[in-house]
Amino acid sequence: MNFVDNAFILICAALVMFMTPGLALFYGGLVRSKNVLATIMQSFIMLGLVSVLWAVVGYTLAFGTDIGGLIGGLDFAFLDGVGMDNAGSPAENLPHLTFMIFQCMFAVITPALISGAFAERMKFPGFLVFSALWLLLVYAPMCHWVWGGGWLDEMGALDFAGGAVVHMSSGAAALCCAILIGKRKGHGSQAFIPHNLPMTILGAGILWFGWFGFNAGSALAADGLAASAFVATHLATAAAAMSWIVAEWVHGGKPTTLGAASGAVAGLVAITPAAGFVSPMAALVLGLGAGVICYGGIILKNKLGYDDALDVVGIHGLGGTYGALATGVLATIGAEGLLLGNGHQLWVQFVSVVATWAFCFAMTFVIFKVVDATVGLKADDAAQDKGMDIAEHSETGYQW
């Protein structure tokens, strides 16, 4: 066990935890004022629900003894055998509890990301049940496949900090949910204008800050690789913020603050699978592409007309997919991508992309249908008119 690594990863876990309230602000500012609390709640309460589920059974499904490359066994259920030393820890330099809580924070934010797709029209009880099932039936297996010794791990798929596990999975789920739940009342006829963009920018800043824990911490040690991932994360994000506003400046006429914030998040998403595998300059190039591609994604959504309210598909789905494929091209640290002549890696990345999208979309479809038919998911028109804050929580964000 290494005490320095332990200190670093505990701090990183705290940084990743801070991303979820950051996401709550990011999403909360983007909705209309009558839905601000319900939207914030759909992120914040994941700190409660997912943390409990993770400790009871989620962690062991992800990191328990491998069963057929598909899922972890129940050996760590109720955190049995997860202690203060490194016995049984997937990272030998860390106490098993440190590794578990670091991974817990990833699990918390992933279902919260999906909530942007069905913002302003999802009932709270259905949301809780959907998120719980999604965590256990989609996130935990994905986590096992990629990091827990599952089949994608065995195949050699590169996913440093969660391009597939966190972003493609939530993006695929978001697309499925947006299609199945249908549009918000008034979509296409009313203006859905963000009610507080300063809140959104602050949220994006917190996400950027927390993401250093997400990506640098995924080195699982306070070493040079962590430094490399930190720098790659920062440069890709900076580049994507710039390329998004340039793209919209050219295409739409003006650079917007929401564009700068969205570009930064797109860069953070895209560099996530690559963070520990690419050089600083490769990260910068990757980020430049992320801003333009994800801006294209949201323009395409506006043309296709489905109501992914807060652009989870365009930013997390598309950004994660692009990042996973770009990792197969640009990897030079600890792995070899197409640039070093290893075309096979790009093929492996492609397989991981297809598998992730197919699995997450299909499983989300089933979970959504089951929860919709039992607990119910979509708020009726009257509740949407009133606002989800009053309809679901009997409170309002602002008094005047």
């Binding site: 203006a191 859905f192 204008i193 963000p194 919209e248 295409h251 739409g252 006429g253 003006k254 917007t256 929401l258 564009g259 969205s262 801006y295 949201i298 323009i299 506006n302 652009d311």
Partner: protein, 112 residues
Amino acid sequence: MKKIEIITRTFKLDEVKTALAGIGVKGMTVGEVKGFGRQGGHKEVYRGAEYQVDFVPKIKIDVVVEDDFAAQVVEAARKAAHTGQVGDGKIFVSPVDEVVRIRTGETGEDAV
């Protein structure tokens, strides 16, 4: 007595207030309002989605004065709020039947 409603640009509030105070207006009520006239609204763009926003933020200043003072107040407000561009706003003048000062119970012009 007359009530004078001045609806104009938000940044003109201080100039109008100073002008009215300068000719002896003793009180006024100010509110933030939204609306549109010939100026129309404006376009806003969020992640590439364009929205037409019809209601433009304005301020509304209400003043109640004696009948023979009204014309002077209107002219002072008009000059202070004037830029010459579309969107300067409107001034409405209407009769007031009664005014009551809540503290003392005074009525009519004594209460203005």
